[in-house]
């Protein structure tokens, strides 16, 4: 796993609970009351709010996010593109896999603001005019899933893997699909689906 370059001595700044700056509190914070009921309000704009436009599946999608908002949360909570799944939110399961400029990445560790200007492809963008992508069709035929929750990530990874050319053997497919966990254990069927779509393609 990789991280950022960081200013050198990891001293006190990392150790305590350095507080986030509280910007724009006045117009947005509603103090909680013991009785609990608050007047309904839509998410207030804060100083952190940024208006961005993401290119998702060939369409421009305008969003208001914070710098900390992940691409995954932007897709799921704002763009109503819930095909991309949150499994672990830490890059360990692959359920949130999408393509950025054709490369597979985990959207849970991608900041939405950093995805601006890139072509984002999600599971919703694979089928063309209602015709399944061959890999989607192969997953359906080979039963490459049970619960279906990891499936969009598996398929996005599989499409990328085929483009990358890592289909020389079942062992190679398995190694290069190992970033996508399937807890239902559909792995052999997923490998069969990938092998099948390569042979047909």
């Amino acid at each position: 796993m990789s991280t950022v370059s960081r200013r050198g001595v990891l001293g006190a700044t990392l150790t305590g609970l350095a507080l986030a700056p509280q910007r724009g509190q006045a117009d947005e914070t509603t103090p909680a009351s013991p009785s609990g009921t608050q007047a309904p309000s839509s998410p207030a704009r804060s100083a952190e709010a940024l208006d961005i436009v993401l290119q998702v599946n060939g369409s421009a999608v305008p969003l208001t996010v914070e710098p900390r908002t992940t691409l995954l949360d932007a897709l799921r909570e704002q763009a109503q593109l819930t095909g991309t799944k949150k499994g672990c939110d830490h890059g360990s399961c692959g359920a949130c896999t999408v393509h950025l400029d054709g490369r597979r990445v985990v959207s849970c560790l991608t900041l939405a603001v950093r995805a601006q200007g890139k072509a984002i492809t999600t599971i919703e963008g694979l089928a063309v005019n209602g015709t399944l992508h061959p890999v989607q069709a192969a997953f359906a035929e080979q039963d490459g899933f049970q619960c279906g929750y990891c499936t969009p990530g598996q398929i996005m990874s599989a499409v990328a893997l085929i483009d990358e050319g890592h289909t020389g053997s079942d062992a190679e497919i398995r190694e290069w699909m190992s970033g996508n966990i399937c807890r239902c254990g559909a792995y052999p069927n997923i490998v069969a689906a990938i092998r099948g779509s390569v042979q047909e393609g």
Binding site: Q22, Y149, R183
Partner: protein, 735 residues
């Protein structure tokens, strides 16, 4: 003819491969706000206070619920007894990671950030975390198997038989805490409209969620609607209505806004149960001819503090009946700790208990120098000696022979370490699988429309097991139409009642009800036809008329359903049927069976253990769909491989806090761990287990996997590992 048993594509497959299957957290509800749980960092003691000023002042925060301001809940009838707490009703802390507050904010980012700034002050008491040191304080479960049977059983005289026997074993097996970790985290959206509550929640039991929520909020169940069309995996951890569901509803009530509450992956380790650690003492003996003389299986199972509920991992139930053995005694005990309440996890009891039993059988076979498969066949039970009944059906011998044949078992070198390729030690192991066939009452409504299409409805669940698909097949075949003409609806408490999806009972419970309701609706069509003067079938017996292909067919001609209904001025016929267990449980011992054959490869120097080849053969009664069944079988085997070699929750002994509450360090199998798997479904057409002869397949295939692998590791290395998971360090001494 007919679709039953055929490898039909999943009817919801298209939705799943396009990302359009909608899971609990994905429903669009206007004005939604986000709730995030705050959990304790101590395991025992009491909350002395909260510092909320900072969190309350953070952007977007709407409400912070603590025990000081939480709504008081009732524990009325219907609330699941297993899960009573923690619901912020008091300040006591009983385990590390217990819910202590809920933060609600306008966006998810803000709710998460504020939750991290809730400060809790505690008075800390000493926590009990080491189960193994507390075995002398173990206690008898108060309600073992929900009171359905005693925790102990005994027949013959195991002690005397053990003393007299030629080959003896007296060992302890240990299984660790394991977490289900479905890929979909537990999620709930709760919305109040007046005194009506709607929740979209990821659950294996919408009806239990409905009654529990009604009980907590003092409502009639009819005021609560629970919706769950897709479950992103459950494996047992979504069987109960755990506190986050109720807390989401509480937060929605207190804010007056619809609330979404999704657990983080870390919170999945303390919020919805786990498979408890077990310590299992096995005493077993056999004679020189390989005949089992005695089995004694004493299981200790880790528990939470008893006031959270009760769960006992029933490890020794298979030991009672699986083999022909005259002297058997089993017991189950609990050890209370400051851990969360454990729960069912895929094949609870069988998966952990059969690791011990099937390892012990392997050990005994080695002692009497018999092939482990031959040893099992030597002790094959034709009847269930524990219940004193015949099996409804048992095709285990076919599982043994067909599995062994496909695997090539007879080429196995008898001695450990006898199969080696360079640095790689090759081991072949096998084990038996068994799981009870469970059935509960289920209700199904069927509506046959004038165009011949059929709508089938039941408030059941599809955990990925294929409920949508196989129920559509049962309806289609019963009505003699293509599967494409059937739509099956589930996952809504407004639909007719069906039981929780647990214990592999969905197919045995719901499928017979589907068939019965379809028969009832078809009967109404036949009655319509017989009473139709134009058809002249008035004198015919109903059995002379068939409903199929969208028509009612008599001896001389057919009439389309559309035409029949049109003449009577009806647009549809419908019928509702309830189906439940008959007296089969009184007459028979009801079980599914199977066999596992596995090749492991162990690096003699580095100790890495990899599964290289796998054959599983299973008796699941009548298979409904070869494709979805195979997925269940390979899925169960994969889960078992994880149990055998990878999975273990690490608890810090000092604080009772889980150290690897994530799925990078709670290691589950990835693609690279799983080889090609051959599955065999042995033929077993019967109708004694239930009208369709279906036994369920969700849990069976994982039972015995860990033992088969442990036995293979022994065969490869000569090292007998009696604890899970089997790790590199356990076999390093084999170089």
């Amino acid at each position: 003819m007919g679709s039953i048993g055929k490898p039909i594509d999943r009817v919801d497959g298209h939705l799943k491969v396009t990302g359009h299957a909608t899971y609990a957290a994905e429903f669009t509800v206007p004005d939604l706000v986000h709730a995030v749980l705050v959990q304790s960092t101590i395991a025992a003691g009491r909350i002395t206070g909260f510092d909320l000023a900072e969190a309350k002042s953070m952007p977007g925060v709407l409400l912070i619920i603590t025990p000081d301001n939480a709504l008081r809940l009732t524990q009325a009838k219907g609330v699941q007894q297993a899960v009573k707490a923690p619901l912020l009703q008091d300040r006591d802390i009983l385990f590390n990671g217990q819910h202590v507050a809920v933060v609600v904010a306008d966006t998810l980012d803000r709710a998460l950030a504020a939750a991290a700034r809730v400060r809790v002050r505690y008075q800390r008491d000493e926590a009990v975390t080491d189960m193994d040191a507390m075995l002398d304080q173990a206690y008898v479960p108060k309600s073992f198997r929900n009171g359905a049977r005693p925790a102990d059983s005994r027949r013959g005289d195991p002690e005397a038989a053990h003393d007299a026997a030629f080959a003896k074993l007296d060992v302890t097996y240990i299984t660790p805490i394991e977490h289900h970790n479905p890929m979909e985290p537990h999620a709930t959206i709760a919305r109040w409209q007046g005194d009506k509550l709607t929740v979209w929640t990821s659950t294996q039991g919408i009806s239990g969620a409905q009654t529990t929520l009604a009980g907590h909020f003092g409502l009639d169940p009819s005021q609560v609607r629970v919706i769950c069309p897709f479950v992103g995996g459950g494996f047992g951890c979504k069987g109960n209505t755990w506190p986050p569901v109720t807390l989401a509803a509480m937060a929605a009530k207190m804010t007056g806004r619809p609330v979404k509450l999704v657990l983080t992956r870390a919170q999945m380790f303390t919020s919805n149960g786990y498979r408890p650690r077990t310590v299992q003492k096995l005493r077993a003996s056999a004679e020189t001819d390989g005949s089992l003389q005695s089995l004694r299986h004493d299981g200790f199972s880790l528990m939470s503090q008893p006031n959270l509920g009760e769960f006992c991992e029933p490890v020794a139930l298979s030991t009672e009946f699986l083999y022909a053995c005259p002297n058997v005694a089993v017991s189950h005990r609990l050890v209370a700790t400051n851990m969360p309440l454990p729960t069912y996890m895929r094949a609870p009891g069988e998966a952990s208990g059969m690791f011990a039993l099937e390892s012990a059988i392997d050990e005994l076979a080695a002692q009497v120098r018999m092939d482990p498969l031959a040893f099992r066949m030597r002790n094959y039970a034709e009847n269930d000696a524990h219940e004193g009944k015949p099996y409804a059906s048992k095709a285990l011998m076919a599982c043994y022979t067909q599995g062994a044949q496909a695997f090539g078992w007879k080429a196995r070198g008898a001695a450990p370490r006898s199969m080696r390729e360079g640095n790689v030690l090759i081991g072949w192991g096998m084990a038996t699988a068994t799981y009870p066939t469970n059935r509960q009452k289920a209700t199904v409504r069927v509506r046959i429309a004038a165009d011949g299409s059929v709508l089938v409805q039941s408030g059941t669940q599809d955990l990925g097991t294929g409920t949508y698909t196989v129920m559509s097949q049962v309806a289609a075949d019963t009505l003699g139409i293509p599967v494409s003409r059937v739509r099956f609806e589930l996952g809504d408490s407004a639909l007719p009642h069906a039981p929780v999806s647990g214990g592999s009972s969905t197919v045995p419970s719901v499928a017979p009800a589907v068939a019965a309701a379809c028969e009832a609706a078809a009967g109404k069509l036949r009655d319509l036809a017989r009473s139709d003067p134009h058809l002249g079938w008035g004198d015919l017996d109903a059995s002379a008329l068939q409903v199929r292909e969208g028509a009612v067919i008599g001896p001389d001609r057919r009439i389309a359903i559309a035409a029949l209904l049109a003449r009577r001025g009806q647009s549809f016929v419908d019928a509702t049927s309830e189906s439940g267990p008959g007296d089969e449980k009184k007459r028979f011992s009801l079980h599914a069976f199977g066999s596992h054959f596995v090749e492991v490869r162990v690096d003699a120097d580095l100790g890495e253990i990899r599964v290289a080849r796998y054959v599983g053969a299973f008796d699941v009664g009548q298979p409904l769909n070869a494709k979805t069944l195979r997925s269940q079988l390979i899925g169960g085997i994969t889960y078992g491989i994880g149990m055998a070699l990878l999975e273990e929750t690490h608890v810090d002994g000092e604080t009772g806090r889980i150290v690897n509450a994530n799925i990078a360090e709670y290691v589950v199998p990835v693609h690279a761990d799983i080889p090609a798997i051959e599955t065999i479904v042995v033929e077993n057409a019967e109708s004694r287990s239930n009208p369709l002869g279906v036994k369920g397949a969700g849990e069976l295939p994982m039972v015995g996997v860990a033992a088969a692998i442990a036995n293979a590791v022994y065969h490869a290395t000569g090292m007998r590992v009696r604890k899970l998971p089997i790790r590199i360090e356990d076999v390093l001494g084999s170089a």
